[in-house]
Amino acid sequence: MSEPLSFELSRPSAQPPRLPEADPASPGPADVLPAGMLRARPPGLPRLSEPEIMRHYSRMASLNYSISEQFYPLGSCTMKYNPVANEAAAALPGFAGLHPYQDEDTVQGALELMWRLERALCAIVGVERVTLQPAAGAHGEWTALRMIQAYQHSRGEARTEVLVPDSAHGTNPASAALNGFHVVEVKSGADGRLHLADLESKLSPRTAALMLTNPNTLGLFEREILDIAHLVHSAGAMLYYDGANLNAFMGICRPGDMGFDAVHMNLHKTFTTPHGGGGPGAGPVGVKAELVPFLPAPTVERTDGHLTLDFKRPRSIGRVRSFYGNFGMLVRAYTYIVAMGGDGLTQASQDAVLSANYLRKQMEGDLEMPHEGPCMHEFVASARNLSHEGVRALDIAKALLDRDFYAPTIYFPLVVPEAIMVEPTETESKATLDAFARAIKEIVAEARSNPQSLHDEPKNLPVGRLDDVAAARHINSYLQGLSEDPVLRWKAPA
């Protein structure tokens, strides 16, 4: 059950599609441009008919697990159901057909949507303004840190360090480094929460910001968040909220009230825009008043019901993306917020917390739970208790695939050995959670009785475990010039 590549299916005899034609008498590129500028050989694209193309992609689609068919408890990624109405909304010609350089008078509906989405996000996270420009969560992190940097420079401060907990998402230190900051790690305590004394010892006049997600990546609420905020602000630094875990508390509490100065949100997690196999997402950033002048330009402004784009923002950090962000994703997220309303979003977060705690309880006897509950919207288990049997988190993940579940996030956060990070979300039924817990129970039983069989899983998928070590070795040979097979692309057999 595998599918050849389009390049392998390609037939030289396939007819090109029928396309508009130009007047044959009018001069073409070869008549006008110097020969040295022209492409000599056509690009090696495949040649297939439409029916062949449709079958090729349908067969590839069938090789994927997705939310539409499977439970997808990928921790930290909030793989909740994506309402199909969102897709219908984004496809409306009144949105999909807009050119970004149309006059403002002709896009009032689009600007109104962006303005209302901004107001809604401000209400949800408790900030003054939001930029919708960043294209993804990591892009939002980087944007927020850039604003913090610009703000501090404007006050004559040269703060060069960003503090990041050891349990943080990898994007946090990477985003800090991209802005030229030194990354200083802050330890977690035994209870899985930020170690306050360690934080205090690492705060200094060099500290620009602490990046934090709350609940943290262990799914635990940072109980001492108000003390953390106080410590950070007393050092003259800012507090940055990584919004990956926002789904835990909409309508329950708000990062702005906790003391966060900048907040990014993942519209593709909390607000149901589809993950698309790895994007496009959207990572808006909300800020408190003192950072507002530094927001990327343009912002959307509304005066007497008339909407405009404000490009004249002298202290802005500039632009972080072309045009106005991933507008199509903004339409989807706004559609979701309108449908859910304040009551629905609150219910969603409560249900997410309920599901996670329920599933955690069901799995308690089978896998280790390194931290005391209750958890928020996700929890981290550990397969450490199966180490005697030689069974690892990876084996559990593969065995789940064979039982028609997508696997939780594994080996993250790094502070838990053999981590299995489970985020069930609010859109799964109790029956699904029970079935998943049963599967875990079966797998753990199998680990005890016949561990070898787990090492051979998955057995029911198009491919078994792929040897990525060998692949990396082949890529290295290519990169060192010892082989002509790039591995990272198809090449016609010589």
Binding site: P46, P173, H275, G276, P280, V463, L466
Partner: protein
Amino acid sequence: MLDAIGVKSMDELLVDIPRSLRIKELELPAGLSEFETMAEITALAARNRVYPDRLTFRGGGVYRRFVPAAVAAVTSKPEFYTAYTPYQPEASQGTLQTIYEFQTMIAELTSLDVANASLYDGATAVAEAAMMAHIQTDRTEVLVAGYLHPEYLEVLRAFSEGRGIKVRKGSEPSQKTAAVIFQQPDFLGLLTDAEALTEAAHRVGALAIACVDPISLAILKPPGEYGADIAIGEGQQLGLQPSYGGPHVGFIACRRELVRRLPGRLVGAAHDAAGRRGFVLALAAREQHIRREKATSNICTNHSLCALAASVYMTYMGPEGLRQIAEVSFKRAHSLADRLAALPGWELAFPDRQFLNEFPLRVPKAPAVIRKLARKGILGPLDVHRWFRELKGVVTFTCTEVNDPGAMDELLAVLES
């Protein structure tokens, strides 16, 4: 479920949240039925004006092109759009294989060795390429030659500032230059001497970064053949709707020597124990989830679904189809340019420069001309004076396969009236 957990109320699960932080409710309206929701959203959409494809002559980075129905038919398959980054390869072969095909097609199009799985857009692709050059050469200046898209330049500046990289405009690189960046064709639609700029970069040990229009590569010599080290670009024209500027897709390809510096995801071929071929995320050691602050970039999510659209588009077109699209656009644009330049007071802004299907004209009373066209339902040219002080009265027209000869007649009729 509360019973099973062993608590009496939801509040017991939220016990770690300080009481002082709890809010009563969100200050948002109550939820609506799907019917009411769609009525509200549709009303917003109705407040926008959509110009027909054939009467759109504005480009500037986003173009109207024929999009085969096959594109939406594939990208609306929920197996593709509701999956996530393929961390479990055995259950994600569909996504992985489509990315591998995308990487191959971009590498073929640019004639470079390796392309990645996609980036957010053309603007961030420019910035990411500049960062690659900075790391590779350990130099702290990038040189931007010619008319790079002004928004790409702004994004490049924003990225560079945090990193302490200087962005300079000009065409004379120095020993400090990490890379020479140029757009081909440029923001105005003009063709640049890409080979000369590439040679100038290499003479001082800098990299040459070509920001290219993917459709143009059916006609023009690809970056890999004139020696560019990195090619980047915006892929919106490969089957994506304008959608008020996004989501679209950035692409990046490079020479073998630079592959380890590539940002974002890369997919490679691998085999299982039974010898079956499959696809996996490769060279992850460059990435943020492994390398953290030492990663080549912070990218986690990119634009896979948009890359899928581009793959379907390129597969549908094939080499001949893509060439025909490019040629038809070229011919129609040149015929339109001739007719427009013949209008009284109108002239080509750069008469000695070549172009493909977007071109700058100097016209009297440009803003009035654009307003007049809008009144007649035509999305007229782009007034580029907004970004470039020296280009007063200069507008750029775009013409593609969707602008049929009748549409051009309508455009001319309004302009002559």
